[in-house]
Assembly symmetry: C2
Homo-oligomer: 333 residues x 2
């Protein structure tokens, strides 16, 4: 093929790709994030308030958004989180973005879904340090909340069930469609440059995609951290073994989503990898037995950065005030 | 006057009041909050990001919004705030709402304006625990910030001067016009009910208005806490005496704004009054030598609740990510 024909051929191929983009994407191991589909909007609006509600914590200071900060990729960008009384958390806070796509919640999958997850931190002494009883008592003391729960759930009695349901429904809206990679998947073949495409090809051919696949580019299976070489860490988290007691499940964690990974540093369950370069290098060696060259590493990192989607944006919620009957927060002792 | 004539007279009076509302308001000791006037919008947008930016703190966890939470009346609703390493703050966090109307900033007025104030918490070891050098180093490592500072301030070198200038400009937008009381001041005589009006009259005739006046209903003078009876507290704050060393300035504090006071509980510099009822009772006795009856207290409280204005609403800012060169936060040690 001479240069001119080759050019025409590429142009034709691009045109075909443009037309049949979705068909091509179906052959890829990663699928685009879908924008929000069926949702209960009244629950979403209530859940948004509750997500930003520090009065669900004993101190009155910590909300869901404290550690899953929607200004920062749905994380706190800390190795491990800060909880009640400045308690150091045991594990890296996973992003809430696209968490509705996960097969289960928490690194060890101990919560089946977002609703089951939402109750955990509220009652965890090292996180929000309240109790479900206290959280419900606080909300039930505030007439505006009583009315909104009545409107949304047709109930006269707030329970933790409606609280976590509303938070989970809000979290379902926290998807990030329209990343450059998704536009490429959907047929815009100019959305990625040559380096990024080379990175994606390496990502597929090196085996990364064996675990990081699907719309979440992860989040849909549990895998052992340190398959080829053992993972060394001071972090005490055991992974699934903490639930099953089985030695074979030690260091088995939910594969994290790589969506918005450029925003969700530091990486791994212990937050030990501060940069994507580190994370890719470690993953290559420990999981795949591969030492990526600096160029390969840079290509994969370039690809990973194309996974940053549109961040959820919304008006900051205005919370209804406490009143004389509301149990005051107890930040100190 | 018979009932019918009386009714007509009231209607006529209301109509006149409606027409000449602003003239009448000029005779009142409280003036309406004006909506945002001249502002540098590019500084506002940058300042909004910085206001929500936890990387201005050593831990990477605390932002301006942590203690001056715009979902909760610009306060944390705690007696005293939680700072770095869960340090208990020395004084109640004042609301940031309408703080541009204050004669000076902080309870003791030690900062002349919002810009001077903004630098304080960043470098305070018990609050955000960073330094101005560190804060600037972090921002300067992030290309998106470098570009935005260049756009906004036409500078290649970020300094704390631009950081605090942008935060202050954002804070100037945090005014809360259009409260029911302001609508009354502006001529809508139906905006207040009889109880609220009775409360306002008591507020004026009892002497509250001697200190709580102007558009901020306070914030424009320094007064001694415990004029008639001494104020008893375990709180160690000395007020203006902490700056001047003069015994006469002991317990002299900036009179807090009563705008949005229904949202800014608990009250006083030590946060000792949890409810408006408590606060009104204590103020009456200690500052005015008056013991309000329960009915009078309730009327004043009803008036105070009409001072809640429109809360600032805006899209939550999305912060640009750190990168390999950004100094990581140090939450623990």
């Amino acid at each position: 093929m001479n240069a001119k024909v080759s050019f025409m051929y590429s142009t034709l191929a691009a045109a075909i790709a443009g037309i049949s983009g979705s068909a091509l994407a179906a052959d890829e191991p990663i699928q685009p994030i879908r924008p929000v589909q069926q949702i209960n909007l009244s629950q979403v609006e209530l859940g948004k308030k509750l997500y930003f509600e520090p009065r669900l914590s004993k101190s009155g200071f910590i909300s869901c958004n404290s550690c899953h900060n929607l200004s920062m990729g749905g994380t706190d960008n800390l190795k491990t989180s800060i909880g009640h009384n400045w308690t150091q958390g045991p594990i890296n806070a996973p992003t809430v973005l696209n968490s509705s796509l996960n097969v289960a919640q928490f690194w060890d999958g101990r919560a089946a879904d977002l609703k089951a997850q939402a109750g955990g931190p509220i009652a965890n002494p090292g996180e929000m340090a309240a109790s479900h009883t206290l959280a419900v008592e606080v909300l039930s003391s505030i007439p505006d909340y009583v009315i909104e729960f009545k409107q949304v759930f047709d109930t006269d009695q707030i329970t933790i069930d409606e609280v976590t349901q509303a938070i989970a429904e809000f979290e379902k809206t926290l998807v990030t469609p329209n990343s450059r990679f998704d536009r490429w998947l959907l047929g815009d073949k100019n959305a990625l440059n040559a380096t990024e495409l080379a990175g994606y090809n390496l990502f597929k051919t090196s085996g990364c995609v064996a675990c990081h696949n699907g719309p979440g580019v992860g989040g849909n299976s549990f895998q052992k951290m340190g398959l080829v070489e053992p993972y060394k860490t001071d972090n005490k988290a055991e992974g699934v073994a903490g639930l099953t007691g089985k030695d074979a499940d030690r260091f088995k964690f939910k594969v994290p989503t790589l969506r918005n990974v450029a925003l969700t540093y530091p990486y791994f369950h212990d937050g030990a990898a501060q940069t994507l370069t580190d994370a890719v290098d470690t993953m290559g060696r420990l999981q795949l037995g591969k030492k990526f060259t600096p160029e390969e590493n840079a290509q994969i990192v370039a690809f990973l950065k194309t996974l940053t989607g549109e961040q959820p944006t919304f008006l900051i919620p205005i919370l209804p005030p406490s009143n004389d009957k509301t149990p005051p927060p107890k930040p100190f002792g």
